[in-house]
Amino acid sequence: MKRLSALVALTLLTSSLFAQAADPERARNLAATCANCHGTDGRPVAGSGIDPLAGIEKRHSLQKLADFKSGQRPGTIMPQIAKGYTDEQLELIAAYFAAQK
């Protein structure tokens, strides 16, 4: 029984590790929901007046998104949009854009 629970625990651990790594496309897909306004892969058209997201440090954009979500940071549309994503999703999005050099 001990061996069994150990095995189950190991499986759960492995599964959750895999679940995170399992879908390398999840972050890409989530980030693509931002592209309509912020440009493909976070690179907006020059002069469009919309913030680029590509290459922005994860810590920085995640804080900004968290502040929009909590209502601490004012805005026209981003406070409403940020509330639609889970914290985990925002983290994946921020990491994806940070990796776009």
Binding site: T11, A22, P44, V45, G49, I81, G84, Q89
Partner: protein, 426 residues
């Protein structure tokens, strides 16, 4: 003995679990291969074509079939009718999809789908074979609902301008030719229809033009719905403050027929004569989607699977945009079509690699509307896949509308257009 078997079974089960998960992770390296035919080069189809190429590192072949030589945007086209933008401002080419992304562009029309043979028949002759088909054909009009408009001659005089292009230019000319003191009548169909706030934006921009050039004129909105369908408070405020005495809004005023020669709108208990009569007719999924055996809802909109945008009854046919039966509160907008296209592209590449689509997709909508040539308002919403209903559901507490119209949002709306056009075409 029984216990040992049980243990062995559990062990095998857990091992299988690990293997499955591992298999999933490892096989993300598997390359999708095949040929995708995309029908319709609007907000949905063009985005799907580009993202299929981009996300497969150009490994999947993509053919885009589009009737028009160039893309003309419906969003921002009301500004052309109002006179603050030109057709050139809202017209873009398909060149870069071809030259940079390697999408094969075929300017033709699809007449029929042979789902069993996985091919489409082109009007110009010949068939195109596909491994996966993306249909993003937009809407067609239900002319039979307005008998007087159910012929080509009437439709050349009483315009809809609800598909941007020649009709946009023609409606602008009718407005320019209208005398000061004239009456512009806009008929709005019962929801759902393409672009919920679009009719009210149009009324605003026509009124804006009248206010500056023909101040004795009137804009009468005959709305089949009980109230303004989208951004109600913001439009009502803008009309009261900017266009008093110009815009007259009449709810529950469904158009029953039109007398073309006298430009008269016939309602249940009333007739309204117009100098310019602009009828947005009731709509359904475009012909190619509505008449190819795809499962419809309410005999109008295509039923799809929200994990892949695949037709609920026709394998390998994925349908996007205004032609589908939407999720709750999800509007028929260009923004949503673009988002659905990315969901479909991601799912199709998985399916072509022999894998399952992302089980938790997210979609987002943003619609900007101008209330005059500079000030805009927005509505936004976010949708998360819900396993229980099998539908993407609006996230409670997220989304909303502008606190007030502003020039700032007018500038953001212009930036939105530039960036979404680039996201689909460049």
């Amino acid at each position: 003995m029984a216990d040992r078997n049980r243990r062995a079974f559990l062990k095998a089960g857990t091992l299988a679990g690990v293997l499955t998960v591992a298999g999933c992770a490892g096989s993300a390296l598997r390359q999708p291969r095949g040929h995708v035919v995309v029908v319709g080069g609007g907000y949905g189809g063009a985005t799907a074509a580009k993202y299929l190429r981009m996300w497969s590192a150009r490994g999947v072949e993509v053919t885009l079939v589009e009737r028009s030589p160039r893309f003309v945007s419906c969003p921002m086209s009301n500004l052309v009718i109002g006179g603050s933008r030109s057709m050139a401002d809202i017209t873009l080419g398909y060149d870069r999809l071809q030259s940079h992304w390697g999408v094969r562009i075929v300017h033709d029309e699809v007449l029929a789908i042979d789902a069993a043979a996985r091919s489409v028949r082109l009007a110009g002759g010949g068939d195109l074979r596909y491994d996966r088909l993306v249909l993003s054909p937009g809407i067609d009009f239900m002319w039979q609902e307005i008998p007087g408009l159910d012929n080509a001659g009437a439709q050349a005089t009483i315009l809809h301008a609800w598909k941007a292009g020649a009709q946009t230019v023609a409606l602008r000319r009718q407005l320019e030719a209208m005398p000061d003191g004239g009456v512009f009548v806009l008929s709005v169909p019962r929801a759902p229809y393409r672009c919920p706030p679009g009719p009210y934006e149009r009324a605003s921009l026509v009124a804006d033009y009248c206010k500056r050039h023909k101040p004795r004129s009137k804009v009468i909105v005959l709305d089949a719905n009980d109230e303004i369908v989208s951004k109600k408070g913001l439009f009502a405020k803008a009309w009261a403050e900017l266009y008093p005495g110009i815009i007259e809004y009449r709810p529950q005023s469904e158009l029953r027929d039109v007398d073309v020669t006298t430009r008269t709108a016939h309602l249940d208990f009333d007739k309204v004569r117009a100098d310019v009569l602009n009828v947005i007719p009731p709509q359904r999924a475009a012909d190619i989607a509505a008449r190819s055996g795809l499962q419809l809802i309410n005999q109008r909109w295509v039923e799809i699977d929200w994990l892949s945008m695949e037709s609920s009854n026709t394998p390998a046919v994925h349908v996007l945009g205004d032609a589908i039966f939407p999720a709750p509160t999800m509007p028929k907008s260009g923004h949503v079509a673009n988002q659905q296209a990315k969901l479909a592209a991601a799912a199709i590449l998985r399916l072509l690699a022999g894998e399952q689509p992302d089980p938790a997709p997210v979609l987002m909508n943003t619609c900007y509307s101008f209330v005059d040539s500079r000030n805009a308002i927005h509505v936004a919403s976010v949708f998360q896949y819900d396993r229980n209903t099998g539908v993407v559901q609006p996230v409670a507490g997220a989304g909303g509308v502008s606190s007030a119209r502003s020039e700032l949002e007018g500038r953001i709306a212009a930036g939105w257009a530039q960036n979404i056009w680039a996201d689909m075409l460049f």
